[in-house]
């Protein structure tokens, strides 16, 4: 992890999609405002199956809002979001072209296909680790409890927490809680995982264990959209990095290209400030 991001040689620009399949996630013309502030301005993004897209950018650039809109934790005013070819949140009427909000039940159903892990873990404090993981598969997907528990134990083993099944979240470290949160999201067998700055609330010493779990997930072929400030991690894990600022995607490209040979002044300025501060 030594050296700065700008000291490597630039790589060829490869923005053309590397896979021909239908995108797992397709966001088109997304607009979102909070009151008078437009936080997402016509954002479009396609993520192929198995692709890992890392979203970086300064605070307030709209990264988290983009993720939250993706599974409709935030409503949006304009645009479409498709997961594996199916819309989430709103569908456009073919004849009138009008946007109609899907029912709560339909939205809940669509969310089953999207796993999300949050910055503040958000485990359910009144349930132990195993209960946290099996609650949704059993009650939402109607999977038999014994089967769900077996799967939960597999996932706990994957994130290195086999011995913590009976613990309550309060008794776990931040890193352990975050790994449980990853296991909980995976238990729903999602088609895509969204990670929202999941290491930001952790001790530097605990960041590694969470990133390792994500790395494992990426190498298993999971489609992932990751919002992070961990540039080294972004470089290691991403197939593509997207830089956002002011509610728009300013630049996107392969990690080496975007981090070491950015095309825009805005990205250069951001990376320079980052390097001055962290010297990764």
């Amino acid at each position: 992890m030594g050296g700065t991001l700008n000291d490597a040689s630039s790589s060829a620009i490869e923005l053309a999609p590397t896979r021909q399949q239908r995108p797992m996630l397709e966001i088109a013309g997304l607009r979102k405002r909070f009151g008078s502030v437009e936080v997402l301005r016509d954002v479009s993004l396609a993520v192929s199956p198995g692709e890992v897209v890392v979203v970086i950018g300064p605070s307030g650039s709209g990264k988290t809002t983009l993720l939250r809109c993706t599974n409709l934790l935030e409503e949006y005013e304009h645009g479409t979001i498709m997961i594996d070819g199916e819309p989430i949140g709103y569908r456009i009427d073919g004849r009138s072209g009008r946007r109609a909000r899907m029912s709560e039940r339909e939205i809940a159903k669509a969310r089953e296909r999207i796993g999300m892990v949050f910055q503040s873990f958000n485990l359910f404090p009144h349930m132990n680790v195993l209960q946290n993981i099996v609650a949704a598969p059993v009650r939402v997907k109607r999977i038999e409890r014994r089967q769900a528990e077996a799967r939960a134990r597999e996932l706990l083993a994957m994130v290195g927490l086999s011995d913590k099944a009976a613990e309550h979240p309060i008794r776990l470290s931040g890193g352990q809680q975050q790994r449980v949160a990853i296991a909980r999201a995976l238990a729903m067998d999602p088609k895509i995982m969204l990670f929202d700055e999941i290491t930001s609330a952790l001790d530097p010493e605990l960041v590694g264990e969470v990133l390792a779990a994500m790395q494992q997930l990426a190498s298993d072929g999971m489609t992932m959209v990751v919002v992070t400030h961990e540039m080294s991690f972004a470089r290691d894990i991403a197939d593509r990095i997207v830089f956002m600022d002011g509610g728009v995607i300013v630049e996107e490209g392969k990690p080496d290209q975007l981090l070491f040979a950015p095309q825009t002044e805005r990205v250069r300025a951001f990376l320079k400030r980052y390097n001055d501060r962290y010297r990764i």
Partner: protein, 217 residues
């Protein structure tokens, strides 16, 4: 000890009055709790009209003393032709009165949960009903438990007001004994001690719940 002779002689009579107090309080606390939880859910999740109606009810209840309500209903019921035994009339008034306060305690419990818990449950594909059932309410009820027990203590003490409308319970029993024995201090010390024992037991339970909630979070 001789001064407490009237109390000792009438102690079992007072205990029978206390039994009625506990029966009345228990009969009122169950519907008050059910109605209180229901009102809190409707207040948080209901439409604007429903929320306004509940708010109006809460302000009305908050602004009228229980004794005035009890007396009002005592005179009102016979006029409306509703033939309700006085015991159940009183239980109805106390239930409706305390349901308002209990609903505020549970509403505070629901609203005090961080938005993150809702987000996490939604992101796992839970519908509103399911996330309420398995994520929000279990936590909200735990948070609301200590103030809820305090309200139950207050409800037990409020049953002493029903003696004004002629219902027999511990306070009424004490007044009867005082009229017979002319020993108000000794008898009411005895009545106060019995009330204290009932309420202290409840309060201890409340403290126990509070410790569990603090440990759990």
């Amino acid at each position: 000890m001789k001064e407490f002779g009237p109390l000792i002689h009438s102690f079992w009579y007072l205990l029978r009055g206390a039994e009625m107090t506990v029966l009345m309080a228990t009969s009122a606390v169950v519907p008050a709790t059910i109605l209180g939880v229901l009102l809190s859910l409707l207040h948080v999740f209901g439409g604007r009209l429903l929320r306004s109606a509940i708010l109006g009810y809460l302000f009305l209840i908050r602004g009228i003393p229980l004794l005035v309500l009890l007396t009002f209903v005592y005179y009102l019921l016979p006029l409306t032709g509703i033939d309700l035994p006085p015991f159940w009339g009183v239980v109805l008034v106390i239930s409706l009165y305390y349901a308002a306060f209990i609903s505020e305690v549970f509403r505070a419990g629901i609203l005090s949960l961080p938005q993150a818990q809702w987000d996490a449950a939604r992101s796992l594909g839970m519908t509103r009903g399911l996330l309420l059932q398995i994520v929000i309410l279990p936590q909200a009820l735990r948070l609301a438990a200590p103030p809820y027990v305090s309200l139950c203590v207050s409800l037990v003490k409020a049953t002493s007001l029903v003696s004004i409308v002629g219902l027999w319970e511990l306070t009424m029993a004490s007044r009867e004994v005082v009229e017979r024995t002319l020993a108000p201090f000794q008898i009411f010390i005895g009545a106060a001690a019995i009330y204290f024992c009932i309420c202290y037991t409840l309060a201890l339970y409340g403290r126990h719940l509070e410790r569990r909630v603090l440990l759990g979070h």
